[in-house]
């Protein structure tokens, strides 16, 4: 029964959103991690989402055309990239991490943006949970057929 594929799709969505939430948590936690050099400073991390093309390969290997449906993909995190937004350079000569000129490097994390991202991720997660719940109900109904 292809209803079980919905569980895979919604599950992939939930996994992707939780990775996104993970990067957001990491970004917010490190929003004030100071550093004295540009190379060591924490940079905001962002996941890259992409639709999965899982069936293309299976079809090429002689898969069943009727049952392998390329439209059912789900989502995957292709990787996590570091933001190249300009770093926050502050003049704090008394700071323990200050360089010779008295500057401290702060991460390029935009906390407001991260909060918005967090809300979006949690909503996305919620939607996928609802989908899974609906698929579960549909499956349970199907099991009562003829009773």
């Amino acid at each position: 029964m292809s209803l079980s594929q919905i569980f895979d799709i919604a599950g992939s969505g939930m996994a992707a959103q939780s990775i996104r939430l993970n990067t957001t948590a990491s970004n917010i936690a490190n929003a004030d991690s100071a550093s004295s050099s540009e190379g060591d400073v924490y940079r905001a991390r962002k996941p890259v989402f992409a639709a999965v093309q899982q069936d293309a390969m299976r079809m090429a290997l002689g898969g069943d055309i009727m049952n392998d449906r390329p439209e059912n993909q789900g989502v995957a995190v292709q990787g996590i990239v570091e933001s190249d937004a300009p770093l926050d350079m502050r003049y704090e000569p008394d700071h323990a991490m200050a360089d010779e000129q008295g500057y401290v490097m702060y991460p390029n994390v935009n906390v407001v943006e991260e909060m918005a991202d967090m809300m979006s991720a949690s909503r996305g997660f919620q939607t996928n949970v609802d989908i899974m719940d609906a698929a579960k109900t549909m499956m349970q109904r199907l099991l009562t057929l003829g009773q």
Binding site: M1, S2, L3, Q5, I6, I9, A10, S12, G13, A16, Q17, R20, V48, F49, A50, A51, D55, M59, A60, G62, I65, M66, N67, D68, R69, P70, E71, N72, Q73, G74, V75, S120, R123, G124, T127, N128, D130, I131, A134, A135, T137, M138, R141, L142, T144, L145, G146
Partner: protein, 135 residues
């Protein structure tokens, strides 16, 4: 006299299958709600049901023959012409055309329609059981 199941169950058996397939497509749209460049899709219910009723997939009829194991299958790749792209109402800058509210509404509607198809099918089975028992 024999009971023909396909005659007795009518359109509901296929309708239920199409509802499941549509649920899959919509679930996929929602899973990719934040994927850049993803285009929301939906099925043309009438076309896909007609396809199911006639008992053949367009993909299988228009497929090219493969004479060697290393050949790639060519033609309609497993799907059908009934799978279309949604017209975006508010496309985002990254090329994504999934509108979460719209998709959720469609998904819920589809679930309800699935329930009704299911009720009809269940009713058919119940009447068959009645007929067999002769009560």
């Amino acid at each position: 006299m024999t009971i023909s199941f396909s005659n007795a169950l009518g359109i509901h058996e296929q309708a239920l299958e199409v509802r499941v397939r549509r649920a899959e497509v919509l679930a996929n749209n929602l899973a990719n709600a934040d994927t850049p460049g993803f285009k929301a899709r939906d099925v043309d219910f009438k076309a896909i049901l007609g396809e199911q009723m006639s008992g053949k997939d367009l993909g299988s009829t228009l497929k090219m023959d493969t004479t060697n194991g290393k050949h790639l299958p060519f033609g309609f790749d497993g799907g059908s012409e009934a799978l279309l792209y949604r017209k975006p109402s508010q496309p985002s800058v990254d090329g994504n055309t999934v509108d979460t509210q719209q998709e959720t509404a469609e998904f819920m509607k589809n679930t309800m329609q699935y329930q009704s198809s299911f009720q009809f099918l269940n009713g058919k089975f119940k009447s068959l059981v009645h007929a067999i028992r002769g009560e």
